[in-house]
């Protein structure tokens, strides 16, 4: 379940931090990056490693939105939905993605390629509308014509095409 390389990195974190529990967030990132999500046995393993109860791990895992307790798609798409992006067409982008992927917010496509999620402000408001695919930024993903309100999705189509 937990590969020796990952355990070694977690041990190194525990060794250099003032308290073992302070390794919680980075350890969960390491596990999730390796396994795609944080399965139950890994949570119990980490609790033992950090000397905390399994409930303490669960509390953190369920609080932070970037941790996944269930497997998701190969690419997790986070579409920014906050005000500056909303002023530049992000709702049209989201509707378009729901339509062509055939899923609603939180859903994963039947082929397991994409999970579609809404994100809170991604801090790229000057490049709106924006999304992240597995944490990497894609900016100005659609062109909203200021005069007609029409939206062009060409760039978004090209981005999806590249995420094989």
């Amino acid at each position: 379940m937990i590969r020796p390389e990952i355990e070694k990195q977690i041990d190194a974190l525990v060794a250099r931090l003032p308290r073992p529990q302070a390794a919680m967030l980075p350890a969960l990132h390491l596990i999730q990056d390796d396994l795609g999500h944080v399965p139950v046995p890994a949570r119990e393993w980490l609790a033992g490693k950090l000397g905390v109860s399994p409930a303490a791990v669960e509390a953190v895992l369920s609080f932070y939105t970037l941790y996944r307790r269930e497997p998701g798609g190969k690419y997790v798409l986070h579409v920014c939905s906050t005000l500056p992006c909303a002023l530049r067409g992000c709702e049209q982008v989201f509707e378009y993605l729901e339509k062509i992927l055939g899923v609603e917010a939180g859903g994963t496509t039947a082929d397991g390629r994409f999970t579609l999620k809404r994100a809170e402000c991604l801090g790229a408001c000057d490049q709106a509308p924006v999304l992240q695919a597995n944490g990497e930024f894609h900016e100005r993903i659609a062109e909203l014509n200021p005069e007609t309100g029409a939206v062009s999705f060409e760039r978004l189509e090209a981005i999806l095409e590249n995420l094989k």
Binding site: L25, L50, L83, C121, G123, E136, P146
Partner: protein, 425 residues
């Protein structure tokens, strides 16, 4: 101010490298601090410069550093708050991605000033490129012995720990951030005790925003008097403004504190995006601050001037809205954000944010009553000042200001039984 200071390096090729930063005078501030000044002397210099925190509150940085006990039996910690997530704010991300050494130099100087041997940078989980740039820059520092044991051959030693958040706006609140580093849910702590007395791991801790730290090297390099000459009285230094919304040229702009908001919008931002559109409203400091009507918006952008205009400079996230914007829909978007991000500890915020979002939702969808409009104001008033941290206020301030300043639009929605702008979301 002639030419950019904070953004002087970002346009250069390879701007994130130690070599490029050094070629532009980088780490001379650390050299001066460690070789020529005692910690108290560094704090004094930052006090004289008048630097105020760029995270939103505008608290004097030197004074904050001075709160950390100069002698302490416990470890002292220095924390950089890089959890930038206030809607409309994207300046810290730029600094970290393109000029991480400028931030790290400020972090080293600050750590030396308060006697911290360990510094933590808490980067927002969504900022992978910023995290990568900082990790590389920290490796370069270790290799060149600018951190680690005996920095620059002095007796001062420093270790920097790079942290990544995991998706929680609340962790931008300083004590929630500390809980998060400690491996817990990001629940803000009751104050006092303040972090300078009891912060990270129960030890005296200082915490500053990314942009605040980026200012520090320039103060040490060029002197407090030079720095204090930029901007306005009690509002000194350069500032990064984030322009977004209905502008032709959105982006990060550097200008002194006290620049005219209309200069930012109509000159730097290129004016309004749609031809023939008129300015309707501006949020001057990130989505949590009171909105300004167009006719209230010709103001100076410094902490005190924006406060006098009835809003806050906050994170200087300037969100511009033209006259085709539905203010009910805009408020709904803002309230959904805060309802989602409330940590749930305090009842007024946990319940109130959701109720305000639900009420505005039904008004936007044509199912509201006129009494709902006052109800929003009432709920907001029952959140303000009644919670552990300011997240509740961050939802209540836009709610009250939108309802009070654009009341006609809320009434219009109720009377028509529909959104006059045709929004259906």
């Amino acid at each position: 101010m002639s030419g950019p200071i904070l953004l002087a390096n970002v346009g250069r090729p390879d701007s994130a490298s130690l070599a490029a930063y050094r070629a532009a005078g980088g780490y001379e501030g650390v050299r001066r601090a460690l070789k020529d000044l005692q910690p108290a002397g560094v704090i004094d210099e930052v006090k004289k410069a008048g630097l105020r925190g760029r995270g939103g509150a505008g608290f004097p940085t030197g004074m904050k550093w001075g709160f950390v006990p100069a002698q302490s039996p416990k470890a002292r910690y220095f924390v950089c708050n890089a959890d930038e997530s206030e809607p409309g704010t994207f300046k810290d991300r730029l600094l970290m991605e393109r000029d991480p050494h400028q931030v790290l130099e400020g972090l080293i100087i600050g750590s030396y000033a308060i006697g911290a041997r360990d510094a933590f940078i808490y980067v927002r989980g969504e900022f992978a490129p910023a995290h990568r740039a900082l990790a590389l820059a920290i490796d370069e520092l270790r290799r060149d012995r600018l951190i680690g044991p005996k920095v620059l051959g002095t007796d001062y030693s420093l270790e920097i720990h790079l942290y990544k958040g995991a998706g929680a706006y609340i962790c931008g609140e300083e004590t929630a951030l500390m809980e998060s580093i400690e491996g817990k849910r990001g629940h803000p702590r009751l104050k006092p005790p303040f972090p300078a007395v009891e912060g990270l791991f129960g030890c005296p801790t200082n915490i500053n925003n990314v942009e605040t730290l980026a200012n520090v090297p320039h103060i040490l390099r060029r002197g407090a008097a030079w720095y204090a000459g930029i901007g306005r009285e009690k509002n000194t230094g350069p500032k990064l403004y984030c322009l977004s919304g209905h502008l032709k040229r959105p982006g990060v702009v550097e200008a002194p504190l006290g620049v005219r908001l209309h200069e930012l919008i109509f000159e730097h931002g290129g004016g309004l995006w749609r031809s023939g559109a008129r300015l309707k409203a501006v949020i001057p400091g990130g989505s949590s601050v009171p909105v300004l009507r167009a006719e209230e918006s010709d103001i100076l952008m410094d902490f005190d001037s924006v406060a006098r205009a009835g809003s806050l400079l906050g994170s200087a996230g300037v969100i511009v809205m033209d006259d085709r914007t539905c203010m009910v829909n805009a408020l709904l978007n803002i309230l959904k954000f805060y309802a989602h991000e409330s940590c749930g500890q305090c009842t007024p915020c946990r319940e109130g944010c959701h109720w305000m979002a639900k009420i505005v939702h039904r008004i936007e969808h044509g199912r509201g009553k006129e009494a709902d409009i006052d109800l929003i104001d009432n709920v907001a008033g029952n959140i303000m000042g009644k919670t552990i941290c300011p997240l509740g206020d961050a939802a209540a301030m836009p709610a009250q200001s939108f309802v009070r300043k654009f009341r006609d639009e809320f009434v219009d929605h109720v009377r028509r039984g529909a959104c006059p702008f045709g929004n259906t979301q």
